[in-house]
């Protein structure tokens, strides 16, 4: 089974983080359903041509975050918690918001102004979509 994951050499982040992020994405977009079996650590390592220990680390962290469950002898599954996909997407949103706030802080933009700009961006996007329709 091909995992469909891809490790980028130009991505400066550690490989385990890339694996975690892509697996979360698969769950978030619904490619990997709750409770679905996922490749074993060794399988994925061979598939991605990365070391076992790197995949193991990604799996351990994903397990800690409640995204997957690994059972001795039974392999790993996507966790069967309802709304997992949505929750992951929300986490993703949270991350981007934090990033936006940090950048705004560096540029000296106050939270209130950031809020206004966020609304503006939303409006612009809406207009664009209407034009396309």
């Amino acid at each position: 089974m091909s995992s469909g994951l891809f490790i980028s050499q130009s991505d400066k982040r550690p490989i385990y983080l890339q694996i975690m992020e892509q697996m979360k994405q698969r769950v978030a977009v619904g490619d990997w359903a709750e409770g679905q079996a996922i490749p074993s650590i060794r399988q994925l390592a061979v598939d991605l041509q990365v070391s076992v220990i790197t995949v193991k680390r990604a799996y351990l962290e994903l397990e800690r975050e409640g995204v997957i469950v690994t059972q001795q002898g039974k392999g790993s599954h996507v966790a069967s918690s309802p709304g997992l996909g949505t929750r992951l997407q929300e986490q993703e949103l949270e991350k981007h918001l934090e990033q936006a706030i940090r950048l705004a802080d560096m540029l000296g933009i106050r939270p209130k102004d950031l809020e206004a700009r966020l609304r503006e961006t939303g409006d612009r996007r809406m207009e664009k979509e209407e034009e396309q329709v």
Binding site: Q9, K12, P14, R42, A45, Q49, V50, S51, V52
Partner: protein
């Protein structure tokens, strides 16, 4: 039966202009160990000692539970060894070499050998004389892989290869690890290869081992902190920081034992932590070798 595929204890070897000193090295079964270090650091000598090809002056060497070099015959049945300077017979074909190896190893896997020929883009009837460097490396590796050894010991397997050939070889090496009972030790000065496929990392420089540990834990220990230091503020010396480079108000601190507190300590000294970045193995490699050289000079 020990759970280590390779175990070197207090190994030393003296040459007129070079010495290996107090080498400790452990490779657990089922793992890939990447041996990295600059040219002339002692990687090849270490590998030759653990293969029994060179005899250590002192220390214990055990490979697959066998004492080296005394029990090298028994050990070498299960070891596939290839090194960069290893040469096949120029006037003979790849097929001749395959038959030669098959006549020695009963567990030679002929279908796998054929598959590897195809994957590596080699033809059995080619003479070694007419092969390019990359093809020679692949032919040598084919002879090693097709006997399915429990331990692969590879000295610079990807040196001088084009990206496609490198990729093909890394793919076969990681494929070996489908089987949990098999282990690989390989040396390289290509840090990208080591970072990608190894479970364990050993750093060697000037005949000494600088670090040897789990790759993930190792990469995790290193961080680069970008700091903004207002004029008149001196950065405190923190344990775990191996170097600070400052240019005007901007400074970069390199941590080899990173702790989250470091950021707080710098902040409370008056500096501002702009970012904390992970480092690639290549960056760690350079920082490590530079530090070790400074220590030697000091």
């Amino acid at each position: 039966m020990t759970d280590l595929a390779i175990e070197l204890k207090r190994v030393g070897k003296r040459y007129p202009y070079f010495a290996l000193d107090n080498i400790h090295l452990e490779v657990p079964h089922g793992q890939i160990m990447g041996l990295i270090g600059p040219n002339g650091a002692g990687k090849s000598t270490t590998i030759r000692i653990l293969m029994g090809l060179v005899q250590q002056d002192c220390g214990d060497v055990r490979v697959l539970g066998r004492r080296m070099p005394a029990e090298q015959i028994a050990a070498k049945w299960d070891i596939g060894f290839a090194s960069e300077d290893m040469r096949l017979y120029e006037g003979m074909t790849i097929e001749w070499h395959m038959n030669f190896i098959r006549s020695i190893y009963p567990n030679w896997d002929a279908p796998y050998a054929q598959l590897l020929l195809k994957r590596f883009g080699l033809r059995a009837e080619q003479k070694i004389k007419g092969l390019s460097h990359g093809q020679r490396v692949k032919a040598t590796l084919l002879l090693v892989l097709a006997r399915r050894p429990r331990l692969l010991v590879l000295d610079e397997p990807t040196t001088g290869l084009d990206p496609v050939a490198r990729h093909e070889i890394l793919r076969e090496l990681t494929a070996v690890m489908t089987d949990e009972g098999r282990s690989i030790l390989f040396s390289s000065h290509n840090t990208q290869d080591v970072e990608q496929i190894s479970d364990q990392i050993t750093f060697i420089d000037r005949g000494r081992i600088i670090d040897s540990m789990d790759k993930e834990a190792y990469l995790d220990r290193w961080r680069r902190l970008r700091l903004e230091v207002p004029l008149g503020i001196a950065l405190p010396a923190l344990p775990g920081i191996i170097g600070i480079r400052q240019d005007g108000r901007l400074a970069i601190a390199t941590a080899n034992v990173f702790a989250p507190d470091m950021a707080n300590e710098y902040e409370s000294s008056g500096a501002r932590v702009k970012s904390i970045e992970t480092m690639t193995l290549e960056e760690i490699f350079v920082a490590n070798v530079e530090r070790s050289r400074e220590e030697v000079e000091a």
